[in-house]
């Protein structure tokens, strides 16, 4: 018998702030976290796009060397938000270490900063007879570094899923975590994703002509999802986590329930690894509704993937139109912070939970003139004060991976 799965904690480190108050203020004030691209002393001068969704405020981690020795920058983000949700959830240490709590957490490619240092060391000036690569560099940089540093720091002994599917990394983590709890494999899952400052990712998208380049001197005016003058995505950094629990147990222990995951879908386009695919995306949206057992009319808000690439937004708009028509509100939260890659799904979910709690919907920033090919949707262009019952969270990734999560407002759950 499938079980209901609720969200009892969330936390995010984002280009528009860390913690609920700062993030909500930025969303309400239309504040962008896109800044000039920081110099990395390597690739920056070769990249046309000079903007980045930047985390530029100090974070008090307080981690000791016992833990930091196996952590790259990406794991700092991951462990910070993981610690936040464990504390916020009120779960006790006995449960956390019982094996009934698992971790589903990922990043795009571990820690590129550490990987870069490995190559610098390897090809650097050290005499080659010395073992010049640090023993812990693999642990710091490997693709599942976020998930296992979380298990290590908090003594979590349950299942580990380390998704790594670029832009769907954390939405997959949440979806797979949801299925773990729904079908009784685990009683709770700590889910999310993180990605650190990395110019390699910018260079890749830049090379594919997918990065924004026309607003290098006015970073806050890009990205521009669904706008006629959009010119590509902006890469960003950050981390986010949610704690998923079985509903009856959460209710019994008096946990605060922020939302319920009522549906998840994940499919693949089965072909091109880069181009967006209308059939694949449309199918994803329908599969999520089927999993939740609801109709399109039940969904009040769509958090679109909306990266502001020229074709991606059009294809997504067509898919939303085909499945939902023009009734639900549509917002593109990447307009505030750029595309935080593997962590975008969990950051956008955290923002959705804040907006559900505080009964408002943040508009898509920089949506000055809606592209005629995207104008059939009910775009949120000014802040809306409205209660959201059910929201859809869409994310699509290179590799043709598509996900959709359906989230029910946690207030007045029955």
């Amino acid at each position: 018998m499938p079980r209901r799965v609720v969200i009892t904690a969330c936390s995010a480190i984002t280009p528009i702030g860390y913690g609920k108050e700062t993030i909500v203020n930025s969303l309400r004030q239309g504040k962008s976290g896109v800044k000039p691209l920081r110099d990395d002393g390597l690739l920056t001068d070769h990249i046309h796009s000079r903007v980045f969704g930047t985390v530029d405020y100090p974070i008090d981690y307080g981690f000791t060397r016992q833990y930091t020795k196996t952590m790259g920058p990406v794991a700092f983000y991951a462990c910070r938000v993981a610690g936040d949700v464990l504390a916020q959830s009120g779960l006790d240490e006995k449960f956390i270490t019982s094996g009934r709590l698992g971790v589903a957490f990922g990043s795009t490619h571990g820690s590129p900063t550490v990987q870069r240092n490995i190559y610098k060391t390897f090809f650097g000036n050290l005499k080659e007879e010395f073992s010049s690569i640090g023993a812990v560099d693999y642990l710091r940089s490997m693709v599942h570094t976020t998930a296992v540093n979380i298990t290590r720091m908090f003594g979590i002994t349950g299942r580990v899923i380390a998704s790594s599917t670029a832009c769907t990394t954390s939405s997959q983590a949440i979806g797979f975590g949801y299925e773990m709890v729904k079908y009784g494999m685990q009683d709770a899952m700590l889910c999310g994703g993180a990605d650190e400052y990395d110019t390699t990712t910018v260079a890749v998208f830049d090379n594919l002509l997918a990065c924004s380049v026309d607003f290098n001197n006015t970073p806050e005016r890009t990205p521009r999802p669904f706008d006629s003058n959009r010119d590509g995505l902006v890469v960003g950094e950050g981390g986010g986590a949610v704690l998923l629990e079985e509903y009856e147990a959460a209710k019994k222990r008096g946990a605060t329930i922020l939302g319920e995951v009522i549906g998840f879908s994940c499919n693949n386009n089965g072909g091109d690894l880069i181009l967006p695919n209308l059939d694949g995306i449309t199918t994803t949206l329908k599969l999520a509704l089927g999993d939740a057992g609801i109709t399109p009319e039940d969904v009040d808000l769509i958090s679109a993937h909306a990266t502001a690439t020229k074709m991606g937004d059009v294809i997504e708009a067509q898919a939303i139109d085909a499945v939902y028509g023009d009734r639900p509100l549509v917002t593109g939260l990447k307009s505030y912070m750029g595309h935080c890659m593997g962590t975008c799904g969990v950051i956008e979910l955290t923002m959705l939970l804040y907006m559900m709690e505080q009964e408002f919907v943040a508009p898509t920033l920089n949506l000055d003139n809606v592209d005629p090919r995207c104008c059939m949707l009910n775009h949120v262009r000014e802040l809306v004060e409205q209660r959201i019952r059910i929201a859809a969270l869409e994310n699509f990734a290179f590799g043709g991976v598509n996900t959709c999560l359906l989230i029910k407002n946690g207030r007045h759950l029955t």
Partner: protein, 85 residues
């Protein structure tokens, strides 16, 4: 290097790179300073740089029985002696 010179250098490494605070020469490194197998491998790399030559696999495997700072000094002295023969 004399044992005193080695001690000064090893203490500097343990304090600067491994964040040891006031280590005793016979402290159990694992129990009292959280020094684990990962740290041991890292320390061997630093010892190689300090000595100016690389250690063989057999020499490195012998280091896995080290428990105290005095053990580290004994280990390095044996390595130095064997290299001088």
């Amino acid at each position: 290097m004399s044992r005193d010179e080695l001690l000064t250098k090893i203490l500097a490494i343990l304090e600067d790179d491994f964040e040891f605070e006031h280590p005793g020469l016979d402290d159990n490194l694992r129990d009292e300073h959280g020094f684990d197998s990962i740290d041991a491998i890292e320390l061997l790399g630093k010892i190689e740089l300090m000595l100016g030559f690389s250690l063989s696999r057999a020499e490195k495997e012998k280091a896995m029985s080290i428990r105290t700072i005095n053990d580290i000094l004994d280990y390095i002295e044996k390595i130095q002696a064997s290299r001088q023969q």
